[in-house]
Amino acid sequence: MATIHIDNRPYPAKDGENLLQECLSLGFNLPYFCWHPALGSVGACRQCAIKQFKNEEDKRGKIVMACMTAAKDGIRISIDDPEAKEFRTSVAEWLMVNHPHDCPVCDEGGECHLQDMTVMNGHVYRRYHGRKRTFHNQDLGPLVNHEMNRCIQCYRCTRFYRDYAGGRDLDALMLRNQVYFGRHQDGVLESEFSGNLVEVCPTGVFTDKTLKRHYTRKWDLQTAPSVCVHCGLGCNTIPGERYGVLRRIRNRFNGAVNGYFLCDRGRYGYEFVNSERRTRQPLLRKNRTEPLQLASKRDALQHLGEMLSGRARVIGIGSPRASLEANFALRTLVGRDRFYLGISERDSRLLASVLDILKKGPARTPSLHEVELADAVLVLGEDVANTAPRLGLALRQSVRRQPEKIAKKMDIPLWDDHAVRAAMQEEHGPLFIATMANTRLDDIATRTFRGPPAELARLGLAIAHALDPIAPQVPDLSDTTQALASAIAEKLMAAERPLVISGMGCGDNAVVEAAANVTWALCNMGRAAELCYVVPECNSLGAMLLGGGSLETALEAMNDAADILIILENDLYRRGDAAMVDRLLAAARHIVIIDHIEHATSAKADVVLPAATFAEADGTLVNNEGRAQRFFQVFVPKGEIEGDIKGDTPRDIPGDIQESWRWMRDIMVAGRGDERQWSSLDDVTAACAAAIPFLEPILRAAPPAAFRMDGQKIPRESHRYSGRTAMHANVNIHEPEQPHDPDTALAFSMEGYLGHPPPSLISRFWAPGWNSIQALNKFQDEVGGQLSGGDPGERLIQATPGKKAAYFENIPPGFEPRPGEWLLLPLHHIFGSEELSILAPGIAELSAQPYLALNPEDASNLGLTAGDEVQLRLRAQTDVTADGSAADGSANAATTPAEIFRLTLRFKPGLLHGTAGLPVGLTGMGNLAGVALPAWGELKKV
């Protein structure tokens, strides 16, 4: 701690930190543009000027940039000095010289950092009346809008895009006052983090293109704290709604999880909520041969009640994309031993294994922030850029940890971004990527390794053995693999915070176990190693913690037990082999599905109940770290939207959409006369925590519904929310009462507590004078650090350091290519592989079309080139992954007829000879969607 004197008053400050950050942390309003807590200082904009004095006697002082000056003990500075003030105002005026007259039609308006800073500087009238410089804009794809005239040349965009996120196609072009920030030509931005430009750019150059189609100002959005549902990382978000339509997603800072950034799937996937494929009303048929008919909620429940009364046996299938509460409610409805998880046997074994390893092992599972602190990383089998995108961004930071030592040795403070990067040059810390094919992170990898899962597992096991000789030895290892394993082991041993990343992405338990062996070997060798598993869905771990069998076990139970099958938020055809799902559905007398979108499974149901999406419900999700996080309802869904989503206000009818757990409660009441005392979410959460003691921390994930600040609820609407007395006036001149929210401490209103709520209840970042996202500074004790009051979320899994866990001994045999056959490996796509985000038009536009991938050499051996049609004949389904020995599908070949698919060929460099790639989850994959990969198949040119 140092003492700094600001305008002759002493304040405590962090020694060596830059003065801008310290002044902001102390609560001073010092304007700035180019500095960003995550990007550091470069001193490009000259906006943060202050006066620095030599000593107490010095009255003249000199102007310095706060962001480029270290806070040293005893330093004397002035923010209010008239000269410094004038300097800052002049800078603002210069920046505004060429600025267009655009605020009214600028999407940044109302949350524009440039507006805020201009006002803060008191630059109120434009004195310049000369000609303004102009630029043409570029079409940057469906996600980000470009309006280059508004640029103030702060360089934040390229510093984020290139330096922080590793993108290459956005750059600063031209020179002097004509610097242009864009691509070399029009085209989709390549980086999967391009959406962050919207928040990083302090002006309206980069704005959200999906928001533009249903534009609403920040102050008019109804918002609530939420959690991304599009992968297993659980990034924190702030969705915003108006007129019953979800309008956008913004980042919600969580120092331990996503920090300042989201990936584009998470930012733009939200439009599925407005999708045409939403289920908005109950559907019913009493006879399977008839089409589903619209029904009222009462009729549907009455029908269900009749079905359930009497001796009906019920089986429930939960979902890893539904909240803990929804799954638990279903489990309560059907009974614990008739509750199944709704994932395939293969996935459920993988998840069980992940959970078991995390629970019993000595290695801690790191938060995303801790991933950034790791100084040597091994990625085993997971294409993180596509299965857990934000994790890839964290890895791009972790490779800076070792090279940073160069800067430290040269006495360069780490916030001095330009100097640090100059000192580091192209140095990257150790990052080893062992995957099935090339990945987007390869450019920063120290070494890469390519192979099918068995080879990846063998590499991992070899590393473990090289670290700790007690770990099992891998027989028949090639010399190159052995050498690589030793090299990786050496680097991991030399690191202070080694990290191993793996996951379910390659569908092989041997890989999961190998990653555990490596980490445990490091722990045994006295290293504080961390182990991070990527899981596919937002509540994969949570669902697993509830327990329950797989789809295959459900099928067995169906064969002898059930009359009624209740499926929660799940399209089974994406989970398992189509034939198996067909059998499962055919075995049920009645099928009830509760989901928010229509899909292949709901088309076969007898009763469809409209569930609420993440934006219309509250609940708890457990991410891959084992962090339980609460998401909050953003708006009350309308039953029907009249006209198109763009304009017409919705009709004033309460919809039938409700939270899945409320449907379960209603079914219990209707069917069993079971008067469950579940009147709010808290009741369900409490029941869940009581039933499963391990889940007890979920009670603390957020304050309960009864929580009040100064006796008031926390408003979801800003204090400047407009149109309250006109938005419904076309329907009913009498203003409707604001909806009540029995489930949370938030209110669907602009009235309530106006100060800062506890961190897990922050609905928007706003402070007087700070309308832009930069208002976040006011919500942190130390700018850039955690939220005041601690980062939200409760970790469920605590590692026991020093604990000894027995190594996994199962060593798969090496991969042998088979003549005439190909091992089909799963290839994941950030855009397209995930079920919900693909319903957002922007994401759909970027999604790949179904294909089959070969490496270019193999393809040319077959006489194929990219774009050719190939015929794929699948060997019958077997569990390739349970252990190495079951890899041979011949045993089951007779039971299921082989299916034939036609696909377009694509090249995928990095695929090993004898392996081919199949994309996961893309629309239009037909029956391939449920096929468990890896699997063997035959290829033929068409």
Partner: protein
């Protein structure tokens, strides 16, 4: 006593003053042009809708009686898809007019808006839009703004230099 007499005297004198009360509605009052009455939406000198759907009037409105939704035409010109004022709530404060950056929304001297049914006081864009520029002739936001619209490309607004060519090698 004295006071009462004085009061009566004053009242008596008023009998000879000029009358201010007029026989409305037979006789129409003379309303100054800056009177804050019925709100209209005006058009720019080119005859296009002036409102650019910036939401500022809605935000300024103390009784929140303005609701609108922005949309864009195929050339990027922004305008309100719907624009609604609930006059049964409006207090005719004129804040919306002050907030409006395009001179679109204006209060007029018309105050004769009585209705038997409150519902008829809800005006949609069609009811609000007039054919002229209203009180403020001349101003055309899109001719000053940097944003492009159909018929006006980058560099063609007032006081704009031709667009920079980012592929040029000249310094």
């Amino acid at each position: 006593m004295w006071n009462s007499l004085k009061t009566m005297w004053i009242v008596f004198l008023h009998m000879f003053r000029r009358r201010v009360t007029i026989q409305y509605p037979d006789e129409k009052p003379n309303i100054p042009p800056r009177w804050r009455g019925r709100i209209i939406l005006s058009r720019d000198p080119d005859g296009e809708e002036r409102c650019v759907a910036c939401y500022l009037c809605a935000a300024a409105c103390p009784v929140d009686c303005i609701a609108l939704q922005a949309t864009e035409d195929e050339h990027g010109r922004r305008y309100p898809e719907f624009f609604r004022i609930n006059f049964s709530r409006c207090i005719f404060c004129g804040y919306c007019e002050e907030a409006c950056p395009t001179d679109a929304i204006q209060l007029t001297p018309d105050f004769e808006m009585g209705e038997y049914n409150r519902k008829n006081l809800v005006y949609e864009k069609e009811d609000l839009l007039i054919d002229g520029t209203g009180k403020y002739p001349g101003y055309n936001f899109y001719r000053v703004a940097g944003a492009t619209i159909g018929g006006k490309n980058k560099g063609e607004a007032e006081n704009e230099a031709p667009p920079v060519d980012p592929h040029s090698l000249l310094p």
